[in-house]
Point group: C2
Chain length 357, copies 2
């Protein structure tokens, strides 16, 4: 498989809403495991030579293994991948914004065709194994990663301490090295002003809430990323079950609030959704943030049955297709912000028309 298959399409596995439980509210699930090689400095202390050795060790392990998940992956270092393509990977949520900025030969990615598995090489840790799936499927993500992780461990000497568990670059990851997260769409809780209270409760349960693109990004369009803070003193299964349980509760509250809003203020809700759809399908210029706001309302309309014929998959695809790098990849050229805003409006119209029966 070549990474270019992935770069040249919008699709990645987590968009496939029909395959994910509770995918009206839980857009995607992600689990990542941070792993490092014993006796090798962490990436921020690596020079190019030492860094390249890390890449080669990982490459060797990959080549040696006959594991089916690993066989289906490609390994690319970022000296071989233009910035635009790295941004594409970032916009698909497969790598972090920081990692996408790196062009060094010892930074890279291993990824499979549908982007359900994406491993960052020499990001904050030597290896960050990630699995992405649509809807609420944290345990499925973990299980897939565990298979890969066990296999790689046969060929890689992981930095592991009997007492502390996996050692990581940042102390907050020591232990399981695991971060599990879900991307939630919570428009009704936002409209009804309940989010602050819920997020406070979530924090007290050891979870963190962030925006769409992780740390230091804003929550645009009522999309929130919920993840575990604690990696030490709990088993992987406990962390997954805990986050799954909290997510199920939030999903239930969002669903009840949607029903209540639709009952108490049907015209206002339909109006909000209708206007968002009308603007998206008729505007000629649109910023990314504005698009996300309207897409949030349209998604709510689809979930409530007010907008018919439009698939949640199309909306997931749009979240990504409207980002700057995807727009430029599609246009085949670099574009100024205003040009992108024009192209964005064009892409929205095209996509909404194509998917609506």
């Amino acid at each position: 498989m070549s990474i270019h298959d992935l770069l040249n399409q919008n699709f990645v596995a987590w968009m496939d809403a029909e395959k994910g439980p509770a995918s009206d509210i839980v857009i995607s699930s992600r689990v990542r495991l941070a792993r490092n090689l014993r006796l090798v400095p962490f990436p921020h202390l690596l020079d190019e030579k030492r860094g390249n050795q890390v890449v080669e060790e990982i490459r060797k392990a990959w080549k040696k293994s006959g594991y089916h998940e690993l066989l289906a992956m490609d390994l690319v270092t970022f000296n071989e991948l233009p910035l635009l393509d790295r941004k594409i990977l970032m916009e698909k949520h497969l790598i972090s914004p920081e990692h996408s900025e790196a062009s060094a030969s010892f930074k890279g990615i291993m990824v499979n065709k549908d982007g359900s598995l994406a491993f960052m090489i020499n990001e904050e840790d030597h290896l960050r194994l990630q699995c992405f799936l649509p809807g609420l499927q944290l345990m499925e993500c973990y299980n897939r990663l565990q298979g890969v992780d066990d296999e790689l461990e046969k060929y890689l000497d992981y930095a592991f301490d009997e007492k502390r568990g996996y050692l990581t670059s940042c102390p907050t990851n020591v232990g399981t090295g695991m971060r599990a997260s879900v991307m939630l769409h919570l428009p009704a809780l936002a409209i009804s002003g309940q989010l602050n209270r819920i997020f406070q409760n979530v924090n007290q349960l050891g979870m963190t809430v962030r925006g769409l693109y992780g740390e230091n990004t804003d929550a645009v369009g009522n999309f929130y990323q919920l993840s575990n803070q604690i990696t030490l003193g709990q088993t992987e299964e406990d962390i997954i079950n805990n986050l799954t349980g909290i997510t199920e509760q939030i999903v239930e509250q969002e669903r009840l609030t949607r029903e209540r809003l639709l009952k108490e203020m049907p015209y206002q809700i339909e109006d909000r959704i209708g206007r968002a759809y009308g603007i998206l399908t008729n505007a000629r210029v649109m910023t990314s943030n504005e698009a996300m706001l309207h897409l949030s309302d349209v998604r709510l309309g689809v979930d409530l049955g007010i907008i018919k014929g439009l698939k949640p998959f199309a909306l997931n695809e749009l979240i990504v297709a409207l980002r700057p790098a995807h727009l430029q990849k599609k246009a085949g050229k670099e574009m100024e912000p205003f040009e992108r805003d024009v192209k964005r409006a064009e892409v929205i119209k095209e996509k909404l028309a194509r998917y609506q029966k």
Copy 2:
């Protein structure tokens, strides 16, 4: 002809844009002549008995005359016409807001089937003869009124002074008793910030600018009413020619500015127009003022050829069909403001769908 034909349809003559010159910018032309009966107090000093005598004198003159324009009219006093119907006439611009509030037996209207002629009885003057036509047709309006006025003068003893001309209740109308006005749609001049300058010039030329429903009403949706201030010392033809000339200049400036805007900022203009259309056709709740703002943009889109298949007539009809009395007449019941806002959104969708091919 019965006034109910007029009350039960949205259509009035001035909406018929295809029949009016420059009707992309000049919505309608109106001329009115203020006339009073000799030796009878002006309306604000009339008691019911004396007022009814005025109505009867007018009715007698109307019955005696065999003039074709008069034969085609109906005379109704406002004790016979419910408030809702009087509001309908006001919203069609055929009577003033003040006149629509009156329910006395000596207040009334004479009107023909398409509303091109509408005479207010005992409004500010005993008789206010009005003619309304689409586009820039002030002289045509005046010519039709002159025919009617000459005919009525055969049977009515008008208060006329050789030196001062026609005597009127308000001194500003003495002389010709004539007010000529045009309703203009000036979105490009508004967008480009040129209106203040133009209106200042217009004032210096003895003209007044007002909102959509005349004195004391705001200009909503870039619709402006331009009329002569002076009624004394000029002939009717001079007044008409003067206002026609000024209007033609403003039309020219609006057209040039539209071309310039479309050349200099095509995306922004198309965006503005597209969004207005998208909101109008997808909203579920809409206030009257918001509707006028979007209709103004959609009308500009139709004029510029950006929106196709929608007729200016449909937009003229909507200006009136969306007003509170028309909405309530259509719904067949009184409605609270929020109910009207819901009904209004419904009517907009229906009309835009019906007229768009």
